[in-house]
Amino acid sequence: MHFISPVLWQFLVNWLTHFALFPPEASGIAPDTDALYFFLVLISVVGLGVVALLVVLFSVLYRQERNPEATQIEGSTLLEATWTIIPLALFMVTFVWGALLYFRIYNPPTNAMNIYIVGKQWMWKAEHPGGQHEIDALHVPINRPVQLTMISQDVFHSFSIPAFRVKREVIPGRYSTVWFEATKTGTYHLFCTQYCGTLHSQMIGEVVAMTPEDYERWTAGSTSGSSLAQNGERLFASLGCASCHSGNADAHGPNLAQAYGSKLQMANGSFVTVDDAFLRDTILNPTMHQVAGYAPIMPTYQGQISEEGLIDIVEYIKNLNSNYRVQQTLNTSQVQTTAPAAPSAGQGMVKQ
């Protein structure tokens, strides 16, 4: 084959080895997305086929040599109705199908494990609940729903894993979430797909889907010593949050233990489900989220806590089962500057 130029040869080899029409199907949602895709491709091929057939057929049948005199036709209401209703019906099917899929992708199951993602120009940081940090990489176990709670420090980014068929904008100032369940082990692309400035094309990374055992091993191997919740507890104490959120009956602030997931009544009468995004925003904009029955005295922590710190505190509050340790800090009025002494004690209050 040496008569082919090396460049062209390389190109052909490249073609044959890399040619693919679909990215790998590596998540639970991927086959469903592909099914909808096939349906849409089918509609398109049929639609295009019909148009092309009509055009070619008429061009042949009614070209001037064969049909020198055109027959003038006004139109046909019946036909108009036909090609209004049939496409409309197909589009409606597409709409319903697409909507079902959308709600599946954007509504995580309750048992999903949560990983935090912070996007910034131009890198991805992943924070696992156990305190493992990763840059431009994400390790996940397979066969387990994983929810990503994501936020951007600066501009819009977009977190995209084509092999999992999921993507979601990562927004400054608000958590957005997406979830997936990896089904095949392997290493997949992770892209930022929202244009975010100069090195947009280098805001990429890899997602490593591992067997649960491997994942266990990985988490054990790359822990940074303290979990997010433990970091959060430290921050919680050092910022003096405990003085108001002690859980005592006469406390100035609402009880935080087991607040996560509950419905809170706000001062304006509305009800709000406490989720990550809500927790984050109450720390930054407390005045806008007055819980009924409490005075608006909480100061804002805007500009005082980094996004990572907020994640720690949110994770801490999320897992706060009881106020035992909160009150202990209060009683001893000891601001925790050292790491919580016994990890076992720490685990007593942190779920799982």
Binding site: R174, S270, T273, A277, D281
Partner: protein, 112 residues
């Protein structure tokens, strides 16, 4: 296809009557009521009306705007085309607001 008669072709239906001159008296009355409504809206804002404060303010502003449009801007005496044009403008503005609101009122917890 029906062949239109010459009469139909040249049928000119004026869309706008010859200039309708509004008398200064009308202007005067409108002017006075605009000033009156200005006073009213300021006064109303000092009353505790709860959610109706905003509604009253907007309603008075709308009345004033309608007065200006109808009389100062002569829309009352104008062709249907002009009326439709004005309506189209406010309709599109309405679309902008309502369709944006579909997002803002249904966000997970009010804000973002």
């Amino acid at each position: 296809m029906s062949e239109p008669t010459q009469h139909e072709v040249l049928d000119t239906e004026p869309t706008h009557h010859a200039t309708h001159i509004v008398s200064p008296k009308v202007y005067g009355v409108i002017f006075a009521s605009l000033l009156f409504f200005t006073g009213l809206t300021v006064a109303a804002s000092y009353l505790e009306l709860g959610v109706f404060n905003a509604i009253v303010a907007i309603a008075i502003a709308c009345i004033k705007a309608v007065l200006v449009i109808l009389f100062f801007m002569h829309v009352k005496y104008s062709s249907r085309l002009t009326k439709l044009t004005v309506a189209a403008g406010f309709f599109t503005f309405f679309v902008l607001i309502t369709m944006s609101l579909t997002d803002y009122i249904s966000r997970a917890w009010g804000l973002w």
